[in-house]
């Protein structure tokens, strides 16, 4: 293995180095000066994000366990940008006195999960995949319990670690059966030796359930609401955007590269799960009064839409899925950004608290409106284009009924996405949330998210670029 080969792991290596650097810097900082860790980490991470965009070679190392190409780089870069926005939006919260001691932890835990996700995306066999998955999951539990003096946060951590233990177990069981039936854990060899025996189907369902847990697809979603509500807002936004997005990417890559032989079968599985997810997610989202819980269920419904892209099993399907995740990243981070800014400033997280927000904080209100419109899929914001392309992709594969159900669900979702908008602009309030000015990090994060929400859909170059890197069934 040459130095060139090692450089293929650029993203993972840079993140690891950054993680270690932060650990070391943290050791040298004491007391108040600890806060300087925020700008330092942000700058370093920005560097990592930028380097990620430099042109890179493709190839595979470790005997095919790790592989990289244009698509994986694109996925990793999307996750990097999302993480950068999360970091920016977390700064105000991290600056609080109570977090002073464990500032570095936040960065390190998130970075280590990001490494895990990158490994998952680049994995060429199930072992590497599983290592990535665990690296991406266990620190999340610690993150969910970050404010452990709060019962809810601690509860969220426990619930996440226990649920994910269960799902990991089932997933690992699935992998072992895959190994048992095909005699290999390499993606290419499994794909070559795959046969549609009942045992294989069972193995696939076990594996799929584990992934469905990560993306929080119904009926494997039950942990989501409790964890999202209990965890600190910024962790929730990381969970709902980066963690979910990466899992969707991985599920798609694995389905397209490992299981092309049973494409009709997994399309049926996805069909059922997509319908369940969109519908149940919507039905629960309707009734939520807590903004975090509201966004949690909304993100479940959105995950159902992602499946519409994956189910296409074609180059178009992959393009639309990646494009949708990209729009979803910016949109959801804009929504979570506003919720987190308000939560950090006032501690208020209920929809009723947002009544009359426009009177006091017009800019935040408009941004939240923009994000919710995008989530609901109203043109000309990014979310509309994301959904539109997804529907077009599914329709081009003749999944007309699925598209119809999705359209109905999108209509239903419009109702609840407009509820906060109504609260903000129409509902009266004696004492609305007071006017405040966020710090420069939060504002930068919000501006990036807003620009993304506004522009991604209109700049066709983003779509064309994704299309040029996508592929169909292998």
């Amino acid at each position: 293995m040459t130095f060139q080969d090692i450089l293929l792991m650029r993203h993972e290596l840079l993140l690891s180095v950054l993680m270690l650097l932060i650990l070391i810097i943290d050791l040298m900082l004491k007391g108040e000066s600890r806060k300087s860790l925020i700008p330092v980490s942000l700058t370093l991470f920005l560097g990592v994000v930028i380097i990620g965009f430099l042109p890179a070679s493709e190839g595979s190392i470790f005997g095919g366990m790790y592989k990289t190409n244009g698509t994986t780089l694109l996925m990793k870069n999307i996750l990097n940008i999302a993480t950068l926005i999360v970091f920016l939006q977390s700064a105000a919260w991290l600056k609080k006195e109570e977090n002073n001691q464990k500032l570095a932890e936040f960065f390190i835990l998130i970075l280590s999960t990001l490494i895990g996700m990158n490994l998952m995306i680049s994995s060429g066999d199930f072992l590497m995949f599983y290592i990535g998955l665990e690296t991406a999951t266990i620190p999340l539990a610690a993150l969910a319990a970050y404010t452990h003096h709060q019962t809810k946060s601690a509860e969220a951590g426990i619930k996440l670690i226990l649920s994910s233990a269960l799902s990991s177990g089932i997933l690992l069981y699935g992998i072992s059966m895959i190994y048992g039936t095909t005699g290999s854990v390499y993606f290419t060899e499994v794909a070559a030796k795959w046969s549609n025996e009942p045992l294989n189907i069972m193995a696939f369902i076990f594996f799929f359930s584990g992934m469905a847990f990560k993306i929080s697809l119904v009926p494997f979603h039950l942990w989501t609401a409790d964890v999202y509500e209990g965890a600190p807002v910024n962790v929730t936004s990381y969970l709902s955007v980066v963690s979910k997005g990466s899992a969707a990417f991985v599920l798609m890559t694995v389905l397209y590269t490992v299981f092309p032989a049973m494409v009709e079968h997994w399309q049926t599985v996805l069909y059922v799960i997509a319908v369940l997810t969109m519908t149940i997610g919507n039905l629960f989202a309707l009734r939520q009064k807590n903004m975090k819980r509201f966004l949690a269920f909304s993100s479940i419904a959105q995950a159902g839409f992602i499946l519409l892209g994956i189910i296409g099993a074609s180059q178009l399907g992959m393009t639309t899925t990646i494009f949708f995740v990209l729009t979803y990243v910016f949109t959801n981070l804009a929504a979570f950004g506003v919720v987190s800014a308000i939560s950090n400033e006032t501690g208020k997280e209920n929809m009723d608290d947002y009544n009359g927000l426009y009177q006091t904080n017009p800019k935040l209100s408009l941004l939240l409106m923009l994000a919710l419109f995008s989530l609901a899929g109203i043109p000309p914001v990014a979310g509309f284009f994301g959904k539109f392309f997804l529907f077009a992709s599914a329709a081009s594969q003749s999944f007309y009924w699925l598209v119809f159900i999705a359209v109905v669900n999108a209509t239903i979702s419009l109702y609840y996405y407009l509820l906060p908008v109504k609260a903000i602009f129409i509902n009266k309030n004696e004492n609305p949330i007071p006017s405040f000015k966020s710090d420069v990090y939060t504002r930068t994060g919000l501006i990036i998210a807003a620009l993304g929400t506004l522009l991604i859909g209109l700049l066709s170059i983003s779509y064309e670029y994704i299309a040029s890197l996508s592929y169909g069934l292998q």
């Binding site: 226990l162 649920s163 549609n196 009942p198 369902i205 039950l222 599985v269 039905l283 629960f284």
Partner: protein, 640 residues
């Protein structure tokens, strides 16, 4: 080939100014917005002139033909390999000519408004909208494909709507802006249908492909037909409907007179010189398609144009409001341009009508903008729109008087002013192709001279009224544009248009046809003489004449009751017999269905809330049993 990519900035500068003034205008003194907008337009005008000089004089024709250059082009939405919506800049003779027209008139209007709109509430808003309009109009003429043109077409409509309704506290302005928007939008529906049909049959939006002689329109002869006309013909007729709406062609003209509710500089820019000629530009843009592939559609263009020009001229004779006289005159002159396109053939001297139409578009923009700005100065001085409140103003407003007189002589077609040259070419083209339309055009020339001089005498001669304040000449910032446009009106006729703007891009020699020129001057002089007899001094002739042809007089005064006809059709017929049943259906059937759906959803939502208990052991149970159920289900399905 020369690089014209800088032309992208010509529309982008006004856009930047719109955003700047619109977003930050309220933070500065209003006049700053005015200066910013004017400065931006000055730069855009400068770039346009450079482009025109380079295109026509430095580069000139390549191999005897002016090239059609895509200076900038990016794919915006791709449907198939050939069918994609681009955004770009197209440089060819007519787009370069339009650049000059738009930026010149727009710059003059910007300058003029510094004086005219001084002290108005919403001064910054006015300049923001002016910039938005300039951006949209420039984007329209530079469009590389018909869909881009459609986008800017609608933007132009929106800016026109905003500017007509500028005095939004005045109910009549609000009504006029709505009317203009709805009528033109209705016509744009035809445009859109035409675009869809055309792109469906030809598989492209691109102007260059659509108009090239070996392109899909012109080579395709087969295809479905409907009522004896091919799909291409139908689609071009539909596209013309959009153009007719914007250019206020009969019977879609009803919005233009009311649009005079907007500030007068706006009328000069949008409703005289630029936006209303968009329809002419649209037909000219697709001209090879009309001329070669769909001569029937071109006939429609010609007859609609000819009829409108006569119709509007008859109405213009009796109007009292000076801006409305000018509005109907605009309609009439645009009808002229359309008629001229309608009688044109393709290539060389056959394309005389095309050249004449573009020529007249150019000269008309100058003198009509001058007339409107002059009217604005008059209205500014006497605080009224009605000519019954005016008279004898030549003593008080010498500059306005002289420039207005020049404009009237120009539009009447008196040599050697520019209007004579362009009108002469139109009549010459009509004479050779269609004697009926020539007759109409000839008559309209006389009517035009008559009503313009009726207007002129009523304002500047006639009885001297008692004014509240003594009228005074407008400030220099307003008279400068008048003088500039007067110079342009006098001299623009000497431009060698047949060497620059032709139907196939190849220059040809155009001669003044004495057989046409002499009668047309004579009839103009007759019209002027009649007007002089009747209106120079107070006389009873006009009233006696009106009495002797009472029916026609009333019909013309009431604009042939077209507004009333439209109101009858919409309110009494469409609203009562179509809209009301639909509203009932919507309220009782559609709403009820939706309420049922809503009720089902909320009920279902309530029923399943127990699923989310918060207890982890239950979650685990659901998880595991779901896996088992899925496995059983799929193993069963597959083994079957």
């Amino acid at each position: 080939m020369t690089n014209y990519s800088y032309t992208l900035f010509i529309p982008l500068i006004p856009l930047a100014m719109f955003l700047l003034i619109g977003l930050t205008g309220h933070k500065f003194k209003p006049i700053v917005s005015g200066y910013a907008g004017t400065l931006g337009l000055t730069v855009a005008a400068f770039l346009s002139y450079i482009t025109a000089i380079r295109y026509f004089f430095i580069e000139g024709a390549v191999d005897g033909t002016y090239p059609m250059i895509k200076a900038v082009s990016t794919v915006w939405l791709r449907f198939t390999d050939t069918l994609h919506i681009d955004l770009g800049v197209l440089i060819d003779p007519i787009s370069v000519m339009m650049l000059v027209v738009i930026t010149t008139v727009s710059l003059m209007v910007h300058l003029y408004s510094l004086g005219y709109m001084k002290g108005e509430r919403g001064f910054a808003r006015f300049y923001a909208f002016l910039s938005l309009f300039s951006f949209s109009m420039l984007g329209l003429v530079l469009a590389t494909n018909i869909f881009q043109m459609y986008i800017f077409w609608e933007l132009v409509g929106v800016s026109s709507f905003l500017l007509i309704g500028f005095y939004y506290e005045k109910p009549s302005a609000v009504a006029a802006s709505k009317k203009a928007f709805i009528v033109t939008r209705f016509a744009d529906l035809g445009f859109l249908i035409g675009i869809l049909m055309l792109s469906f049959t030809t598989d492209t939006f691109d102007f260059k492909t659509l108009t090239s002689l070996d392109g899909p329109i012109i080579t395709s002869t087969a295809g479905a037909s409907f009522m004896g006309l091919s799909v291409i013909t139908w689609s071009l007729i539909f596209i013309f409907i959009g153009g007719a709406g914007k250019s206020a062609m009969f019977p879609l003209h009803i919005w233009l007179p009311d649009a005079m509710e907007g500030p007068t500089p706006v009328s000069a820019l949008i409703h005289a010189a630029t936006m209303v000629v968009a329809g002419v530009y649209l037909v000219a843009r697709l001209f090879p398609a009309y001329a070669i592939a769909a001569p029937d559609a071109l006939h429609v263009v010609g007859y609609v144009g000819g009829f409108t020009s006569l119709f509007a001229a008859v109405i213009a004779i009796t109007q009292i409001d000076i801006k409305r006289v000018l509005a109907f005159s605009t309609m009439s002159q645009i009808g002229y341009m359309m008629m001229s396109l309608g009688v044109s053939g393709y290539g060389d001297h056959e394309g005389l009508g095309y050249m004449a139409s573009m020529f007249h578009l150019f000269t008309h923009a100058m003198f009509k903008a001058l007339l409107f700005l002059g009217a604005g100065a008059i209205i500014h001085a006497v605080h009224s729109n009605n000519m019954t409140d005016m008279g004898g103003l030549r003593k008080y407003m010498p500059i306005t008087h002289i420039t207005f007189l020049i404009a009237c002589l120009t539009i009447a077609g008196i040599p050697p002013l520019s209007g004579f040259w362009s009108k002469d070419e139109i009549l010459a083209a009509a004479l050779h192709h269609n004697p009926i339309l020539f007759g109409i055009g000839f008559g309209v020339a006389g009517l035009t001279a008559f009503y313009m001089f009726r207007l002129y005498y009523n304002i500047f001669w006639g009885t001297d009224r008692h004014y509240h304040h003594t009228p005074h000449e407008a400030p220099a910032i307003m008279t400068f544009p008048l003088l500039f446009l007067a110079v342009a009106s006098v001299f623009s006729g000497f431009l060698p248009f047949s060497h620059m703007v032709t139907s196939d891009g190849k220059p040809f020699e155009a001669h003044t046809d004495m057989l046409v020129a002499i009668p047309s001057v004579v009839i103009a002089l007759i019209g002027i003489t009649f007007a002089t007899i009747m209106y120079k001094k107070p006389s009873t002739i006009p009233d006696r004449l009106a009495g002797s042809i009472k029916g026609l007089y009333k019909a013309s005064l009431n604009k042939f009751w077209f507004d009333e006809i439209y109101l009858f059709v919409t309110k009494r017929v469409i609203f009562a017999y179509i809209s009301r049943p639909i509203a009932w259906f919507d309220r009782h059937v559609v709403d009820a269905t939706m309420n049922l759906v809503g009720w089902t959803v909320t009920t279902a939502s309530n029923k399943i809330k127990g699923l989310q208990s918060g207890q982890l052991q239950q979650y685990a149970m659901v998880f595991v049993s779901s896996v088992v159920i899925l496995v059983l289900l799929f193993v069963y399905l597959i083994s079957k």
